[in-house]
Symmetry: C2
Subunit: 293 residues, 2 copies
């Protein structure tokens, strides 16, 4: 069912190209325009047959759009919004897909013209792959898509929510600062930790004669999946959600020091207590239907 006449997606990475696929296959819009600052990405999108129209010029790409979806790294949101502001048509709705919400609001809102409506959003979905070839139409199915509408008109919000539900996502509304805190612990800190441990192992590689690679099936491999995620996207996330990430990192460090001390002093019971408790959380994720990607 078509929710908008014309939708424009800016940025054709994993998220943007997945959204393009589901918009076409579920007919969520009458016309889909795609743009990206990288000509190679646009050429790939054309080869893949994504969208109805490929447009190199970002202002021209948005001028007929009823909905503009910004699927660029959070560090690029401000500049792209400034670029398209004067081309947005009356009543156009603009949303983003950024993993941080407070920073995106602070960066974008000043550039959104009064005749357009900004409704920030974030699909909680992804893989370690990036680029237009990496997208697939079921990426959002049964995953959460958060909207943080603040004071956007209810009719516009409802229409956007209907559209987002069309992707298969579970749409929920929440406060932007709360979103950033939850994502800091469920996503940003895990990524930071994974990047760190893979880096630590990398530096040991020479010393350990490639055995880190060979014996990676013993646990390490799971971290390398996360640590192969898009570097630019993640660099921006940490720059933009630094306060919440540093707060969660502080808690993590305290907990790690506690275990470190328990190992040093051979306090087996403290480890066993934690290890038994953490098993439960896996079960609850399974019960919540969020186990299989």
């Amino acid at each position: 069912m078509s929710h908008y006449s014309t939708v424009t997606i800016i940025g054709l990475g994993l998220i943007g190209s997945s959204l393009a696929r589901i918009i076409k296959s579920a007919s969520l819009a009458e016309r889909l325009i795609l743009t990206d600052k990288n000509p190679d990405v646009l050429a790939k999108a054309r080869t893949l047959g994504l969208g109805d129209h490929i447009e190199h010029d970002v202002s021209r790409a948005v001028e007929h759009a009823d909905l503009v979806v910004m699927a660029v790294p959070v560090g690029a949101m401000a500049a792209v919004t400034a670029q398209i502001a004067s081309a947005l048509k009356d009543g156009a709705v603009i949303t983003d897909t950024g993993s941080t919400k407070v920073s995106v609001i602070n960066d974008m809102a000043p550039h959104v013209p009064p005749h357009a409506v900004f409704i920030p959003s974030h699909p909680i979905a992804g893989t370690e792959y990036s680029g237009p070839e990496a997208g697939f139409e079921s990426l959002f199915k049964d995953r959460y898509w958060i909207v943080t509408p603040n004071d956007a008109p209810a009719a516009d919000v409802d229409r956007l929510i209907g559209f987002l539900r069309g992707t298969g996502a579970i749409v929920e509304s929440m406060d932007s600062a709360y979103h950033d805190k939850v994502l800091a612990i469920t996503s940003h800190l895990p990524h930071l930790i994974a990047y760190t441990i893979v880096g630590t192992a990398f530096d040991l590689e020479q010393d350990l004669q490639n055995d880190v690679i060979r014996f990676s099936a013993s646990g390490f491999r799971d971290f390398t999946r996360i640590a192969s995620s898009d570097p630019i996207m993640w660099r921006d996330v940490f720059m933009k959600n630094s306060d919440a990430v540093l707060e969660m990192l502080q808690r993590f460090n305290e907990d790690l020091s506690y275990l470190q001390r328990a190992i040093r002093w051979q306090e087996a019971d403290k480890l066993e207590e934690l290890f038994t408790r953490t098993r439960d959380i896996r079960k609850r994720i399974k019960d919540a239907g969020q186990l299989d990607s």
Copy 2:
């Protein structure tokens, strides 16, 4: 092809029960005797049809064995070895499956009688599940199985290696201290980190209204898999490989502090440099054939 007349497995968790399955399906021994200190586990093994003979008494279980495989937590190796020592027959080979090698050697060697041959080993394979139902016969296929033979007779070592290869594993010989160092970074530290971050999130749960669970698909979920591994096995690993784990933890902490500082001071280039570098290691794991479990 049968490598031993009688094999006895002590401990029927994930490793022991998987080994039992492949021994039977690949006919790696003429007779397979199974024992476990837990009567419920033995009852399950019987129901599952594992092995040729289920024996409650551990001494009687080993008295005819040409090969004894100890698949118990590393903290239990010393006591079980002491229990079976006098029952071992002349020339019996005894191996273990422990994730730490120096401690297992220190704990077991004093109890192994002079008429038996001790050849420590460790299959680098596993899942987050435990117990006899969790085992499966392809667990060791294309995974490494390390032996640390020290001064065991070459004929006995060769025979054991032939048997272990029969499980589908890639068998390699190495020094026990080196093994413990490699495993500390590829396995033990990743598990410790995963347990920590899941614990940190768990403590925030009340505050975050179950949203850690709901939004777990954003990265956190991968850590919960590792953090649902067997608590007793892992408690023992950290108690037994504490020196190597604490050394790796020290390196990890330094690297994490470096990133923490980069986030606080908004040094985007430092993050981008690391995040770009860590992508490569995933590719190398794939090239090494260790990506899919």
